[in-house]
């Protein structure tokens, strides 16, 4: 009896929708995706789509990324959706004693994220897709992966790794330029442009915490 009830429930509930990517690919999405993508959830609430055969256009996302996001959500469909909404809340007691960590990416997620690389730029594509779709878990995996790449590198190596051109943060900074204190303080905000530049070109272990 019990199985029957369950079956009826299972068969009556699935709601699938269609979405189309930037490059015109069409995908079916189910609850696993809708529940994890806040953007889609909001869209469905607002649009009140009766005809679920018309694909919802997602103009910002390439088919390959959309497909990957769907795979990710399918795998994570049973995860508790307990990732805190944002850091903005005043709840300062929440894990107040422990720094945020990025060494806690699961094995499956590690394998998943390996298909995206910095060289091809796909790692940034998937982060942008996660950001647009507002899939917290996927965004976290992508950002943690980049954080892990940055760790232990100096600014020169970071620029090299991500192909960032150096853009001297001199003008436009409303920081005091007191040449007397800059020698003492060592806080990079007090440096002049030239000093900064020279520091950026050499490994810079002289930041305040060192």
């Amino acid at each position: 009896m019990a199985t029957n009830v369950e079956e009826t429930y299972l068969y009556s509930s699935p709601t699938t929708f269609k979405v189309s990517s930037k490059d015109g690919e069409i995908f079916d999405i189910d609850d696993s995706f809708i529940n994890q993508s806040k953007t889609i959830k909001n869209m469905l609430n607002v649009l009140d789509i009766a005809d679920n055969h018309m694909p919802i256009p997602l103009q910002n996302i390439k088919g390959t990324m959309l497909n990957a996001a769907i795979v990710f959500c399918k795998y994570h469909k049973n995860d508790l959706l307990s990732i805190p909404d944002d850091e903005d809340e005043d709840d300062f007691e929440r894990d107040a004693y422990e720094p945020r960590r990025s060494d806690d990416i699961s094995e499956w997620d590690k394998e998943f994220i390996k298909q995206f690389t910095v060289e091809e730029g796909t790692l940034f594509d998937i982060i942008m897709a996660a950001n647009y779709l507002d899939i917290k878990a996927l965004l976290a995996v992508g950002c943690k992966t980049i954080a892990n790449m940055v760790r232990g590198k100096n600014s020169d190596q970071v620029r090299q790794m991500f192909n960032i051109s150096y853009d001297p943060p001199g003008e436009g900074l409303n920081t005091p330029r007191n040449s007397v204190t800059s020698k003492e303080s060592g806080d990079n905000q007090l440096l002049t442009t030239q000093e900064k530049e020279s520091r950026c070109k050499t490994p810079s272990p002289e930041l305040m915490y060192d």
């Binding site: 300062f92 107040a96 004693y97 422990e98 940034f124 760790r151 620029r159 853009d167 001297p168 900064k196």
Partner: protein
């Protein structure tokens, strides 16, 4: 597509996963990263006890300038190891960080105390203070000094052995 295409929000999220030493290093990468590295969200909680995954501060004077430049209004939680619990640092926190609500003072490794004779300011909007006691020194004098500043406190958390 490259990293510059990421939104501010995504970059700040990336920065939230690296420690403050690395964040300061990243602030030298380019102008945009420098600006984003100052975002208040990144400076709400500061961990300075190496044995609890915190950053090890070697130069306390440089650290003072970071309190006034980066922590400021953002700071809500900080833990300080024994060697950073000094009159200067406590004064600076009291002056520059009015939103500090949760303070951990870890004296557990202390063999002797800094001199707190001149202490005449202390963060005064605290909701929680956690004090880790040392086995070998008494904190009575220090506690007497800070007692007048604790009127907003909800929780006083003391870890360690009280010896009388």
């Amino acid at each position: 597509c490259d990293i510059s295409m990421l939104s501010d929000k995504s970059l700040i999220l990336i920065f939230s996963y690296i420690n403050h030493q690395e964040l300061l290093r990243c602030s030298l990468v380019c102008r945009r990263w420098y600006q984003l590295s100052k975002n208040g969200r990144l400076w709400r909680r500061v961990y300075l006890r190496p044995e609890y995954h915190g950053v090890h501060v070697i130069n306390a004077n440089k650290f003072l300038s970071v309190i006034s430049k980066r922590f400021t209004l953002a700071l809500q939680y900080i833990d300080l190891p024994m060697d950073l619990i000094t009159v200067d640092i406590l004064h600076e926190l009291a002056n520059k960080c009015p939103n500090l609500k949760h303070l951990t003072l870890d004296f557990s490794a202390a063999m002797q105390l800094h001199d707190f004779h001149d202490l005449n300011m202390f963060p005064c909007n605290l909701k929680i203070i956690c004090i880790c006691l040392s086995d070998v020194i008494f904190l009575e004098g220090f506690m007497r000094k800070i007692y007048p500043y604790l009127s907003s406190l909800d929780i006083l958390h003391i870890i360690g052995k009280l010896t009388f």
